[in-house]
């Protein structure tokens, strides 16, 4: 049985290869067209940069904030797709539930101030820090349980049915959560103003620019040093170094650090010589969002790569029967994957609500869709892909809105999907077809 399936897969791969050869001319044409389009966009952006580097950098910062939120949602899509090959359309609604959980515990229970109940003399900063972390964790737990319940009652019964059944169910679950939430005794269908767990502080101009430039160079140089060290070690025949050198976080550090240090420095030089003022500003909300997202990503990397559960997840994603033969309880691993993905989406919901200060029962739809596109762009099933795709998505959206056309921002962002899939049919970090049996 297994053998014939493999033969079929091999045959299919040959077919794909042939199709590719037939489509080469068409592909070249499309690629050429998009290359031209890309050049046009580059020109517009370069002009915008030359005109006012400070604004350009500010826009990129806006994009980073958005990208880091998308990343938290995209990770869930990609992990769940990786293990059950299901696009969980209700994932954006888990994000919404996370936001609402935090809304209720903050405005209803004042939970973000709980340490002050116990220790009256505690400094305000400590109270808020501990309180905020508690709120995020609690929302993550609630979202994780919701995602697990969803898997248990809606998807697991359909595990061995045709994939379309689960997909349709996912859409149903999504509608259920959205319109169940809209009932008057749940959240109602109003736009509700969200209470942030902390006050907003805006950091402006000079105070942040040296930090931004320094941070970018720091990241770049650190990654570069790591890369060179590993390169040297692997020349010496260190096999561990050989695998570490391909680590996505390292590549990401090089890429982001390199890009931002060059852009920021150029902007700095331009501004100094041009006599323009640094008009860069960021609020503590932006910093909290980026910081929490990065911390959660690092924890996730650790869980997936270093813990027994994470390894079992990757094993089960690759081959469920083989995983069962290792004594891995695949059902439980799938449930854990949903919990992990749901928890991250819940954290994303809290951060999104904190950023935009509003909750609504349909708030998960658009961010969910964008994060899904980001996951596909990065290569669905790939965890570093989800992060890279999300950051690209955030930048595309904000730069499009800032320098091309505001009403077209989503159209441009979604066409990114088409362009990327034309160039890399599997997404940037995706695996080529046929590698998985």
């Amino acid at each position: 049985m297994g053998k014939s399936a493999r033969e079929l897969a091999r045959a299919a791969r040959v077919d794909i290869a042939l199709d590719r050869r037939d489509g080469v001319v068409l592909n070249r044409l499309a690629q050429g067209l998009f290359a031209l389009l890309g050049l046009g966009v580059m020109y517009v952006l370069a002009q915008a940069f030359a005109e006012s580097p400070a604004i350009f950098v500010q826009q990129m910062l806006n994009g980073l904030q958005l990208g880091f939120i998308y990343a938290l949602i995209a990770l869930g899509y990609t992990m769940i797709y990786g293990i059950v090959k299901l696009i969980n359309f209700a994932h954006g609604d888990v994000f919404m539930v996370g936001a609402f959980t935090s809304f209720y515990v903050i405005s209803g229970l004042d939970l973000h101030r709980w340490p002050a109940w116990l220790w009256a003399g505690l400094p305000e900063g400590v109270v808020i820090l501990i309180g905020t972390i508690t709120v995020i964790l609690l929302s993550m737990v609630v979202s994780a349980f919701l995602a697990m319940a969803m898997e248990r009652f809606a998807y697991r019964p359909l595990r061995n049915k045709p994939r379309i059944a689960a997909l349709i169910t996912a859409i149903g679950v999504s509608f259920f959560l959205e319109y169940f939430g809209a009932l008057p005794f749940v959240y109602s269908n109003n736009y509700i103003t969200y209470t942030r767990p902390f006050e907003v502080t805006v950091y402006t101009a000079g105070s942040i620019s040296p930090w931004a430039i320094g941070g970018a160079w720091g990241l770049f140089l650190l990654s570069l040093a790591g890369y060179l060290l590993l390169k040297w070690r692997s020349r010496q025949g260190d096999l561990r170094a050989q695998s570490w050198i391909r680590h996505p976080l390292l590549q990401l550090g090089l890429l982001l650090g390199g890009f931002f240090s060059v852009v920021l420095t150029l902007a700095g030089v331009q501004i100094e010589t041009g006599g323009e003022i640094w008009d860069l500003s960021a609020s503590n909300v932006t910093l909290v969002i980026m910081g929490s997202s990065i911390i959660l990503q690092v924890i996730l990397q650790y869980v997936v790569n270093r813990t027994k559960l994470g390894k079992a997840m990757r094993a089960a994603a690759y081959d469920k029967d083989a995983a069962r033969l290792m004594g891995i309880n695949v059902d439980r691993v799938i449930a854990a994957t949903f919990a992990l993905g749901g928890g991250l989406a819940g954290a994303g919901g809290v951060l999104y609500a904190t950023a935009f200060k509003q909750v609504h029962h349909l708030m998960g739809i658009i961010p969910g869709l964008k994060a899904f596109v980001a996951a596909v762009v990065g290569g669905i099933g790939s965890i570093p892909g989800a992060l890279v795709g999300s950051l690209i998505m955030g930048q595309t959206e904000v730069l499009a809105a800032g320098f091309i056309s505001t009403p077209m921002r989503d159209a441009i962002a979604f066409s990114l999907l088409i362009v990327v899939l034309l160039v890399w049919p599997q997404g940037i970090f995706g695996e080529p077809p046929g590698e998985k049996v």
Binding site: L239, D321, R324, G327
Partner: protein
Amino acid sequence: MSILEIKDLYVSYGAIRALHGISFHVEEGEIVTLIGANGAGKSTTLRTISGLLRPDRGEILYDGEEITRLGGDAIVRRRLIQVPEGRRIFAPLTVLENLEMGAFTRDDKREVQASMEWVFELFPRLKERLEQAGGTLSGGEQQMLAVARALMAKPRVLLMDEPSMGLAPILVEEIFEVIEEINEQGVTILLVEQNAQMALSVAHRGYVLETGSIQLEGLSAELARNPQVREAYLGGG
């Protein structure tokens, strides 16, 4: 009491019945082989024992305990381990991670380390490739990894499904030497093979499976001499 006893087992894939009431037994310390043509039901038998398939009827007794309805993880915990057909290693995981997955149900760190040492003794080449992704190994190395991974579970009984499949003759020899070595260390082995000649050369006893039923059984030497077996599975000779 046999360590593994299969009684009157019926298994179907949907409406198609693959096993028509087979019975056999494996004694502790034996190598028993199940030979038969492609589609005779050999892999189905192993998959059913490991809990991946549910039988329509019949019983599987392991060490006197009925395990027919147990989940896959419960069976692995009883150290009844399978090396699946086609190796089925986890290609994106490193060699080390593959081995760790083999020891998934074990919590005794020190003993897991001991198993690891044992595995490296059997397959020194794996030790050189610990950090490499499983998918980058050659076919022979992948088969070794598959066996090594199963050994990491510290099996009492090892079910091996076509370990020689797709390997060059020299590697086939090597793998069968390893099987004998593992058996000498006290592991009972149920070996499913199309390469009947090799299988009968290492096994103590054997069963011949044809279209879902046991047709013949006996000591390996007897089966190897049986004219029917010689004609069907040993190339006429």
